[in-house]
């Protein structure tokens, strides 16, 4: 196997291949950064070009795009509060407050470095332990997906806007929005109000742009007539790069935990990276010594989110390469590319085609390094974007929001939906609602519904639905985690009280 690793590395460092890899990373960053363009689209567009290339070269280029896109989506998340893809939602929580404080470069460098870190960790796992992990990934069935979705929903208790009632309300709204369109099971058409275009449901990215990006523009630029998008202008410097990277290196638990969460959620086929970053952010805030820093602009929050969503990418390739089951939409495109080159994922990838497979894996690995490099130097350029006066920047962003909403499905209805959501988002932000629970509900609703109905069907056939859903090893772990996560705020409040109690006692003693 080590021979294959070296052959793979040798392949990647062929001049031609490294050029294609760098090109791929650049393209990926662009596709990731523009809301409405996704990693999946970037890959699908390039697959025909790889027909004429040698299999290794083509796959190395695809690896570059995939890894680049996983970082690229953090750029608009940090600068303008708009996740480039749904996977970067959690990046906005701390990324945008950072750039409001004039620390956009800190956020960008933290995102680049932790993306690389997550990607690297997951790649090492992929190269060393893919076959056994793939078998574990098959243990995820309908009950596990249901509990995973419920666990995801408990995150609402952490991303709190101060009022758990408001958060639950917002989460419920998200769940209800997720029922629009075709039912995942049963195929009934629901709540389309006669618009045939709504049969496809609400596109996630449209909701993201509407709820995250528009309210921010309306609020800060139009509402308060700010001259620039952030109060403090950014002065990028090399010192920042050094500081951020050395600070993150000194937090191995945070980085490793985030990467592990990303890898694990990535290899459960279908769950994808959308919730990996949320779960990781949630855990980072829970276990941190100063949880109150989260949400106000800390590089720890950005790092937790980005390390997880980048680790998800190689994670989703584990079931693809070993079993032939794509764990995410981009992985599905890569499956198509492998088949067109005459390879059959799931059978011969680690034997007959080991050289090509390891070129691909090493491509992912080297792409991860390139991301730090390009991201750090790119931060000088990207960070300055928010120094542009609002009267130029705001129209440009508005233009991009329309373009992005339209591009995702070539649908004008999506643009109108985006505007409606933007206005709802603006009003609700005035009422101190956080948009994250809405989007979380929208993401997790279909998972929960599908998992529940499938479990009831399969459980009904086996005799007892309850025992089918509960008495399975992963289900039990997830149920335990749901309880823990849901009750955590109570525990945290109690601990806080106890600490304050101690402090006041000490005060009394003094």
């Amino acid at each position: 196997m080590f021979d294959s690793i070296f052959i793979g590395l040798e392949q990647v460092f062929h001049l031609q291949n490294i050029i294609f890899l760098t090109l791929g990373v650049f393209m990926g960053i662009i596709f990731g950064a523009l809301p409405g363009l996704t990693a999946t689209m970037g890959l699908a567009l390039l697959v025909p070009f790889t027909f004429t290339m040698a299999p290794a070269t083509g796959l190395i280029m695809l690896a570059g795009i995939y890894v680049g896109a996983m970082y690229g989506d953090s750029i608009p998340a940090i600068l303008i509060n708009t996740p480039g893809t749904p996977a970067a939602i959690a990046t906005t929580f701390d990324g945008f407050p950072l750039s409001q404080k004039g620390m956009a470069q800190h956020g960008l460098v933290a995102a680049a470095f932790s993306s690389s870190y997550g990607s690297l960790t997951a790649n090492i796992v992929l190269a060393l332990a893919a076959p056994p992990l793939a078998l574990a990934s098959l243990m995820f069935g309908p009950p596990e997906y249901f509990w995973l979705a419920i666990f995801g929903l408990t995150i609402i208790s952490t991303i709190s806007s101060g009022s758990i009632f408001k958060d639950l309300l917002a989460g419920t709204l998200g769940l209800m929005l997720s029922t629009i369109g075709m039912a995942p099971i049963g195929g009934d058409v629901r709540l389309t109000f006669g618009f045939t275009d709504l049969q496809g449901g609400i596109a996630l990215i449209v909701a993201l742009i509407g709820f995250f990006c528009l309210p921010e523009i309306l609020n800060s630029v139009i509402g308060q007539r700010k001259r620039t998008y952030s109060a403090v202008s950014v002065k990028p410097s090399f010192k920042v790069i050094r500081e951020v990277i050395s600070e993150l290196i000194r937090k191995p638990t945070l980085m490793l935990r985030s990467s592990a969460i990303g890898t694990i959620i990535g290899f459960a086929p279908g769950a994808g990276g959308n919730i990996a970053s949320m779960v990781s952010y949630n855990e980072a805030a829970r276990w941190d010594k100063n949880p109150e820093e989260f949400g106000k602009g800390t590089i720890k929050g950005v790092a937790a989110s980005e390390a997880a969503n980048s680790a998800m990418a190689p994670g989703s390739l584990i079931p693809l390469l070993t079993l032939g089951i794509p764990g995410s939409p981009p992985a599905a495109v890569i499956l198509g590319a492998l088949m067109l080159h005459g390879m059959r994922p799931g059978a011969e990838m680690f034997t007959t085609h080991a050289d090509v497979t390891f070129s691909f894996i090493m491509g992912l690995l080297v792409a991860a390094f390139l991301v730090t490099f390009i991201g750090s130097f790119g931060s000088f350029f990207f960070a300055r974007i928010i120094n542009i006066p609002s009267r130029f920047l705001a129209p440009a962003i508005l233009f991009m929001t329309v373009l992005g909403s339209y591009a995702i499905r070539n649908s004008m209805l999506d643009v109108w939906i985006m505007f409606v959501f933007g206005i709802i988002g603006y009003i609700s932000s005035k009422l101190k609602f956080h948009p994250a629970p809405i989007v979380l509900g929208l993401i997790l609703g279909p998972f929960a519904e599908e998992g529940l109905v499938q479990s009831m069907l399969a459980g009904g056939a086996s005799g007892s639905v309850i025992s089918y859903m509960v008495f399975r090893p992963i289900s039990l772990i997830l149920i335990f985690m749901c309880l823990l996560s849901a009750l955590w705020p109570l525990f945290a409040a109690w601990r806080m009280k106890k600490r304050q109690g101690l402090v006041s006692q000490e005060d009394a003693n003094a």
Binding site: T40, M41, L43, A44, L45, V47, P48, L138, M139, F140, G141, P142, G181, M182, P184, I185, G186, G187, V189, T196, D197, Q199, G200, G201, P269, G270, P319, L323, G324, I325, P326, P329, A332, V333, G336, M339, L340, G342, R344, P345, G346, A347, R409, N410, S411, P446, E450, Q454, L457, A458, G460, A461, S462
Partner: protein, 316 residues
Amino acid sequence: MKNATRLFTMLFCTLIFAVPNLFAAYPDRPITYQIPFNPGGQSDVEARRQQPRLEKILGEKVIVQYKPGGGGSIGWAKMVKQRPNGYFMSGINIPHIILQPLARGNAGYKTEQLVPVALFQATPIGLAVMKDSQFKSLSDLVAYAKKHKGAVTCAGSGTWSGHHIAYLQFQKAAGVKLTYVPYKGASPSVAAFLGRHVAALWANSNDLFQHRDKIRVLAFGTEKPFPPMPAVPTFKDQGYNILASIDRGVGVPPKTPKNIIKTLEKAFLSISRNPQVKQQMLDAGFVPLEMDAAEATAYIRSKVVEWAPVVKEFKK
């Protein structure tokens, strides 16, 4: 005389300006090829394979445009509203275009509004179990299911889809009751099956072919044995009259002129006849088709007649 000249001039002008399309050779500008699914899916792979060849034959650019959602219905609803001038065509999939209007009432289009140009690929549907399953043959499964009503779970992609209708037809033909667990797409259902969360799987030939080492295909819904796996019997061989497959083709909006359909039909069929294209399809577990517009229309009609009563019976 003066009037005659005027009349002639008017006629001449009308011919030149008002109906230039009569004289311009079709096509003279880029053609949009809509894929009503996400990029990277099998319909997209086929379109991308055809795109450069179509451009060579037709002499114009072919632009692939995605319009996913509703299992394809959003794209097809869009197509029936397009101008029938040959510059907009869309991938069509059977049984989707037949079952969606039957099951949903208003899917945004009617089956007969999608005018087929050609069908170029069939994906036979098969029923499979794991290699170590107690069911060594279809008759084993039927015998067990007869004794244990609803105990055999089978996964498939979607409701009122090709897999679902094959399941309904099989239940009826064999006089058994299984439990169908629908998944959102083929790959999640394959994953659930390989993870042993269900006992059997309805799947497309390419997926079954891909996982052939781990599974046992009990039957294919084909007339003749499926070429890449000739040892697997068909449902018909075993006494169940079930023909099930997902067929891919291309269609144009209603009222598209005959000559335009002919031009496109010729282009698509010449690609289908290309031995290299055929071999690539077979290698991936598909069956190449060369069905022209007339055959495709007749085929779709026969399927409407076959499926309408099944949907009516099971849709409460």
